[in-house]
């Protein structure tokens, strides 16, 4: 699929996009995690750019952050220390996990981009007073982005950005739903590439390519005929397709996933007439991260995915030292297994250095599901 190939290329060579942004004179704002409202950055004429890890092992960061802290964040920070993120004009973080919050102080001290900002979002969702509190935080963030970009964020601009980003979300969800079919027109690894590309690309271009993916997928002749047990992968961030590909190579069909680089990014849309109200509601009524409360909402979402996508087994993936998922994995495994859904908890480093060992376990899990 040509469209998918283009998107995959952007994920492998993001410098192509970065050069493009630079040529347009755009400021690039790195961010983590999904509770950073990209639309506000975009409406200020800047580029929101999600930070992912790299394939290289961690070196410099280990002397700044103790080796018992999330490998993903250490990897991102390592890239910054190595000068690989010099293209960033600033960094915006939010109040999610401990590792992200630690990166705030370290970035300010050791990386020193022109901007390092943390949005102090509530971790309690679905509550009116959390909404009121977050609204002030969001207003402060909007002002900060205006000051940094030198561009006023009008409500009209913000509404346009929301509409553009919603379109991306909606298209990604359509493509994601293709995996309800058996055999599916898109694999799990392909979906990951598509979403990651859409996250870093200009949304106009991403939307065109996703539309093409949808068209091409309908006529696809190379879809797998023997798709194997339907598996859902959830857990810590996955920013390289190796694990998903491994499951698919072992005969499993990754029918659904619940990851920061896939469905968590696009599952819900920002809704409402007033753009600030809509963004505020979006953040405070979305409980897709285990750092957020209540956990029951996340569990209900997973159970819905399991039902909708006829999932037969769940792989719960933990990156080493990623506490929110480590704890949640134990909890959800117990609950899901009581409902008859087998769950396998896998733990590995961000670089998937123990993938050989994972292979044996994944194989055994898939065989059990057959």
């Amino acid at each position: 699929m040509k469209s998918l190939e283009t998107m995959r290329r952007y994920v492998r060579e993001p410098q192509l996009l970065i050069n493009g942004y630079r040529a347009l004179g755009k400021k690039i704002i790195g961010y983590r995690c999904l509770y950073v409202p990209e639309e506000i950055i975009h409406a200020a004429g800047m580029v929101p750019y999600p930070l992912f890890g790299g394939p290289e092992p961690i070196s410099l960061a280990d002397s700044y952050l103790q080796p018992y802290i999330c490998e993903f964040i250490r990897n991102v920070f390592d890239r910054a220390l190595e000068g690989k993120l010099k293209f960033l004009d600033g960094l915006v973080l939010c109040n999610t996990c401990d590792a992200v919050r630690k990166m705030y102080d370290h970035w300010r001290t050791y990386i020193k981009t022109h901007l390092c900002y943390i949005i102090n979002n509530p971790q309690e969702t679905y509550s009116n007073h959390a909404y009121s509190y977050y609204y002030i935080e969001l207003q402060n963030f909007r002002l900060e982005m205006e000051n940094f970009s030198g561009q006023k964020i009008t409500d009209e601009n913000l509404a346009r950005s929301i509409s553009l980003y919603n379109e991306t979300r909606s298209l990604l969800k359509k493509a994601y739903l293709l995996r309800k079919q058996d055999p599916a027109a898109l694999s799990g690894a392909e979906t990951l590439d598509m979403v990651m590309a859409a996250m870093i690309m200009p949304k106009e271009e991403a939307n065109t390519l996703i539309r093409d993916v949808l068209k091409e997928a309908g006529n696809r002749v190379d879809r797998r005929q023997n798709s194997g047990p339907r598996i859902l992968i959830t857990g810590s961030i996955i920013d390289q397709p190796a694990l998903i590909r491994l499951v698919e190579e072992m005969g499993g069909m990754v029918a659904a996933d619940d990851l920061c680089t896939t469905s968590r990014y696009f599952w819900q849309e920002v809704k409402g007439d007033n753009p600030m109200d809509a963004l505020c509601l979006y953040a405070t009524q979305r409980c897709l991260c285990p750092c957020m409360h209540p956990a029951e909402k996340r569990l209900a979402h997973l159970q819905e995915l399991i039902r909708e996508f006829a999932v037969e087994g769940v792989i719960y993936f933990n990156i080493k030292y990623c506490d929110p998922f480590i704890f949640e994995g134990v909890m959800f495994k117990e609950v899901l297994e009581k409902t008859g859904i087998p769950v396998m908890v896998l733990e590995a480093g961000h670089d998937l250095s123990g993938i050989g060992q994972l292979k044996t376990r994944v194989q055994a899990f898939i065989e059990m599901l057959w």
Partner: protein, 420 residues
């Protein structure tokens, strides 16, 4: 770990014994309350203690109970139980130890006596993510009512924003409404009195700290660790104030008489991170060199960095919100860095011993940051090594002591010769 390498803290103050007794007094009170069918709370995270005491709610806290078990060399045993239930060894040992004790079918007599089952679970995400995850699991396990107390982080340092204080204050109000369902009616007069006592306690603490800055210090970290209990677990009670009044008198007398922890105080150290609760004698170990650990960072936990005058008994919940959100263990480090600059300067510190606790994602992650900041400002060096203050299974006495030996010897040589 061989048992003989551990030792109790060698303390010098009489009042430390009283502080230690207050621990027993409190746990007996909790156990008695349970027997009288009073709902017991298990609390996780820095939920303001003043609320429990004002409403006379018996509480077992995550931040203290595992330390008791560690002191009895039981922490590793219970962490093992949690690991057998699927939790990895990489989680914080406070949590694995607590989980293990909570899930164990076979409690030892010591634990059994002090660990009543929960009727209510309250958890706050302050200061870390794990504070919420363990109680969520246990609430499900015990089928207990669960309250989540959301706390914003404080990236602003000492000038915390009004909307953040108000948000947390509202959440404290909601906690009171929740607790009322179990018969704990909000008593505003008692809350005000609790904040007044807490303020008084902080004033006493500050006076004690001032005396401890003197050389030789009249009170070291070994006494400080044990005397932390009233400040951290019993603020808002009369008993804490009484103990600290006596502590102040004793410390004042020692300071005025020039009595130190060792005969000749040659090097002044501070301990960053959690000292090993199963081997508190390690805080005395550098004394063989004439080096005194004058304080541990842990003694400032629970809002002790707050200016007591910022508390206003007429506004109890707002005061408690400020006290909590300004705590140095906040997930962002502004106030922790400021604390370290201040401690190093005011205590005339020669060196900092910092430990990385394996499962902790909060304090150890800031050690390098503090090392660089402090060194830049005052040229005070810091040694950092791995040491889990709760889990005794991986403790390597020889390695830990070799680290301390090397560090102290280098400080002595810098100061002009080592003690023979």
């Amino acid at each position: 770990m061989a048992e003989e390498v551990t030792s109790r803290a060698a303390t010098v103050l009489q009042t430390t014994v009283e502080a230690s007794r207050s621990v027993r007094w409190y746990y007996e009170k909790v156990t008695a309350a349970k027997k009288n069918n009073k709902p017991v709370v298990w609390a996780f995270g820095l939920v303001p203690r003043e609320i429990w005491h004002a409403l006379d709610i018996p509480v077992v806290t995550l931040e203290h109970f595992p330390l008791l078990l560690a002191a009895k060399q039981l922490s590793g045993k219970y962490s093992q139980v949690a690991e057998e239930r699927g939790f990895t060894r990489d989680i914080c040992a406070y949590h694995s130890c607590f989980l293990g004790a909570a899930l164990s079918d076979q409690l030892d007599a010591y634990t059994e006596k002090r660990f009543p089952s929960p009727d209510i679970i309250v958890a706050s995400n302050f200061p870390c993510n794990q504070e919420v995850k363990t109680p969520q699991y246990l609430a499900e396990h015990y089928k207990c009512p669960f309250f989540y107390l959301d706390a914003p982080i404080n990236p602003w340092g000492e000038e915390i924003k009004k909307h953040a204080v108000e948000y947390y204050e509202t959440n404290l109000e909601r906690l009171l409404v929740f607790l009322e369902k179990f018969g704990y009616r909000p008593d505003w007069a008692a809350l005000q009195e609790s904040v007044r006592l807490s303020q008084h306690l902080l004033r006493l603490w500050n006076k004690i700290v001032d005396y401890r800055k003197k050389a030789p210090t009249p009170m070291g970290a070994a006494d400080g660790y044990i005397c932390l209990y009233p400040l951290f677990q019993l603020p808002g009670t009369g008993i804490a104030v009484e103990i600290y009044e006596r502590l102040l008198n004793e410390v004042r007398q020692r300071a005025e008489s020039g009595l130190g922890v060792v005969d000749e105080e040659r090097v002044r150290l501070i301990w960053a991170g959690l000292p090993p609760a199963y081997n508190l004698g390690l805080l005395n170990y550098p004394e063989r060199y004439g080096a005194v650990v004058v304080q541990s960072e842990l003694e400032w936990i629970g809002g002790a960095i707050l200016d007591p005058e910022a508390l206003n008994a007429k506004k109890p919940l707002e005061s408690l919100a400020r006290k909590t959100l300004l705590d140095f263990v906040n997930p962002t480090y502004s106030n922790r860095i400021n604390l370290w600059k201040r401690l190093t300067r005011e205590f005339k510190i020669d060196g900092i011993i910092a430990v990385n606790k394996r499962g902790c994602r909060n304090l150890p992650a800031g050690n390098r940051l503090i090392k660089d900041t402090v060194y830049q400002e005052s040229r005070v060096p810091m040694i950092i090594f791995d040491l889990d203050g709760v889990d005794n299974r991986e403790y390597d006495d020889a390695q830990v002591k070799a680290n301390i030996d090397t560090f102290v010897e280098s400080l002595l040589s810098k100061k002009g010769g080592r003690k023979q």
